[in-house]
């Protein structure tokens, strides 16, 4: 595809439910990042993949959050037992190997009610 694609664009879920957010990076980009952007704030780092492995997951807020990238391309961010505080825009970005420009997707707006 032409850019980073994220699905769904919007997700409304009930408190306590499980959600999956998908990111399809730019073809050939080995690095993939997840960020979370709460209302009125800048994006905050969650996790970074280089290929299939999570090279840095220091930004995941707790063990309810998990992400995978099994084939080194598409990534899924999984949130268990969602809470209202998880409501935010979840952004995915990708970059080429050791490239410093990150290309962002349009984000998934998650609302937990």
């Amino acid at each position: 595809g032409a850019g980073v694609s994220q699905t769904p664009s919007n997700k409304v879920t009930e408190k306590g439910k499980y959600v999956e957010l998908r990111c399809d990076p730019i073809s050939g980009h080995t690095a993939l990042y997840w960020y979370r952007q709460s209302l009125g704030q800048g994006p905050e780092f969650l996790i970074y993949f280089q290929g299939t492995g999570a090279a840095d997951d220091s930004g995941l807020p707790n063990d309810r959050f998990f992400a995978v990238r099994p084939e080194g391309s598409v990534s899924t961010l999984k949130i268990q037992r969602t809470e209202r505080g998880d409501s935010a825009v979840y952004l995915c970005a990708s970059s080429s190997e050791r490239g410093t420009e990150a290309f962002f997707g349009q984000g998934t707006r998650l609302t937990v009610v």
Partner: protein
């Protein structure tokens, strides 16, 4: 710990006036600084980076290591510059390109 501070939440200027967005950072190593922009209903995109030392859409930014600042400037603002602007940094020697963002500044250019 690394931190980026953008003290202004909103900057409102008239078309043709100069605009300066402030960015201060703290980082113990060698940082790489960026400005990202998000226009209405569009995705976040890179505007410029300090290592390229170029002007994009009339914007420039100089890294001042003494003042730990990376302010973004444009001498004559245009209406199409209205957007959210985020200053961000990464460590040049760090693994990967994990970005730390400031809180953002909304620029409104009035006709």
């Amino acid at each position: 710990a690394q931190r980026v501070t953008q003290p202004e939440k909103l900057l409102s200027v008239f078309k043709g006036a100069p605009v300066e967005l402030k960015c201060n950072y703290s980082y113990s190593g060698s940082p790489e600084l960026f400005w990202y922009v998000q226009y209405s209903r569009q995705r976040l995109q890179l505007l410029l980076r300090h290592i390229s030392r170029e002007s994009i859409k009339g914007f420039t930014a100089d890294l001042n290591k003494g003042e730990t600042s990376f302010h973004l400037k444009k001498p004559f603002a245009q209406e199409e510059d209205s957007a959210m602007y985020y200053c961000a940094l990464t460590g040049r020697l760090a693994a990967g390109n994990k970005l730390t963002f400031g809180g953002g500044t909304r620029v409104l250019v009035k006709p």
